[in-house]
Symmetry: C2
Subunit: 331 residues, 2 copies
């Protein structure tokens, strides 16, 4: 029996904002399994901001996507055929062959996950890369301490919403910015002490929310947000630089913060990081976030787009803030 | 007997580049000593880039200078009258009442220094605040390791020239930028593996000097230097932010680096610091730099301006790079 699989390919490298024309839906034949391989039907795929960088042909920490080839990214699926003793038909697996109906490869590229306690999609969000990003940025990079004030930009996203909740659970005061009134209201519901819509200006609202300044800035956005955070940071403040989504579609590099000199006067530490560098802390992360999720003390919201064919619009929407919480595509 | 003392006062806050009109030479009467006080005749005073910030009326880590009052800063002098048991006439002391002929105050504000082994002026340079700045920035902030490549901007200054020499002594490769051919030649003499004149462009020369990239950037200058350093930094590179002299006379805040996003892709750490925060490492600093200076393995050059009345021009010159090594005024 021949199986066909749809996949989303990169049709052309986007210049500025990606459009539907940047993507192409193609149908390919799934190859026969070799010994040691598995065939996986994808159930969920992730779209993440970092994928925008992979669409450019510039050197980075991860290879660029190739024009005419399928995109890649986190996905969860179910094993439907196995020629590996390690994987059974019916197993749920986490892997990097998203953007397609079926994935094939060596069994070791597919990590089995337990879906008896948590939804499969959680492994793409709060228990997966975005969760690890939030936790390690706050705990290991920013070294947040109880009693500190933590400002998170892009706070209604998969990463930001977890950062704020963790900061509150760890005895801090979480402040967040987001792009719609609904998102702002949700942030207040889930434990942010204050939240505001950045369209109304970042610095005045941040000053009002943080009369005693902030100690940690969790950076997801860049631009005006970064400058405002530097302005309001206290002595020995830390900036964990996770993302700069405001610039990902920029065609000319944006200028950095004009108040950079405060890095000296306030002795600030600014540190970029990737969750993938923090693998040694994986168990510690799961030990904190897993039970908090199970007990309901952490909320993990999802925005779900239906159908592989709509993955490009899900991704385009992600870059303009169409999601609240984790943006997912159900395949 | 009434003693008079000349002092340099801030006549007006400079807007942009300070000029002679920013300063005023005044003569005042030295007050009678109270019990526990000393009278010190100043021999040397320091001019340092950080003083430019104190001439602005903006909040910072150190109070602004007051218009109409004497400036302050590091100085070394000789006790000429003492009403304190801790200080004898003839003692050499380090203190913060520079910019004047005589200093008066409680004895505890005047730290006695040993001038039997090193010149008194060394306590304003290589064994003083600039030395501690260089050492702590390289060793404690940037955490430089043997085998690493260290780029220093403003490398012919009091701080930069020591950073490069320490980096080389610690088994690293030091690269430096400076503003004249003479300075560049001197850097090569004292152990920099490569040095260049920044007027000929920073990035191309830095790339040529560092084909394998740099691991540490010791930032004294800002602007084009910072952007070039970010471009050439390796994964997990560190920037110790000591100074941003290129912007100190700016009347509008300059934009930050346009390639700031590399902070994430390269997982860079950028950290501002002041030597005054590093006091707990003072003994470790002296244990390394003192013997290296005495043995001649570290060169500490000085640019000496004669006469208190010329201190303003020494300071103005410092901001435009008129000095090689430590800029001092002999009073």
């Amino acid at each position: 029996m021949m199986t066909t699989s749809r996949q989303i390919q990169l049709a052309a490298r986007p210049v500025g904002q990606p459009t539907e024309a940047s993507f192409r839906l193609a149908t390919t034949e799934v190859p026969e399994l070799a010994e040691g391989e598995v065939l996986v039907r994808n159930l969920w795929m992730s779209v993440d901001p970092y994928m925008r960088g992979r669409m450019n042909d510039t050197p980075s920490y991860i290879p660029a996507f190739q024009v005419g080839a399928a995109l890649e990214g986190g996905a969860v699926g179910e094993v439907v055929l196995s020629r590996a003793t390690t994987h059974q038909v019916g197993d749920h697996v986490l892997h990097m062959q998203g953007w397609r109906d079926y994935a094939v490869g060596p069994a070791k590229s597919f990590r089995t996950v337990d879906v008896s306690q948590v939804a499969a999609s959680a492994y793409l969000g709060v228990l997966g890369m975005p969760g690890m990003t939030a936790w390690s940025g706050l705990v290991k990079v920013a070294a947040m301490q109880p009693g500190e004030t933590v400002f998170v930009s892009g706070a209604a996203g998969a990463v930001g919403s977890l950062v704020g909740q963790l900061a509150a659970l760890r005895g801090g005061r979480a402040l967040g910015s987001a792009g719609t009134p609904d998102k702002v209201a949700w942030l207040r519901e889930i434990g942010f002490a204050a939240a505001f819509d950045y369209h109304d200006g970042v610095l005045p609202q941040l000053r009002a929310a943080a009369p005693d300044g902030i100690d940690v800035y969790f950076e997801n956005v860049g631009g005006e947000h970064l400058e405002a955070a530097i302005e309001v940071l206290n002595l020995h403040g830390r900036i964990a630089v996770c993302g700069l989504i405001s610039s990902y579609n920029a065609t000319t590099p944006p200028a950095g913060p004009r108040n950079f000199r405060q890095v000296i006067s306030k002795r600030l530490r600014i540190e970029g990081f990737l969750a993938s560098d923090q693998a040694q802390h994986q168990a510690e992360f799961l030990a904190e976030v897993g039970p908090a999720l199970a007990s309901g003390s952490i909320q993990a919201r999802e925005t779900i787009v239906e159908g592989l064919e709509n993955a490009p619009s899900a991704f385009i929407g992600l870059l303009s803030g169409a999601n609240t919480g984790k943006m997912l595509v159900r395949i």
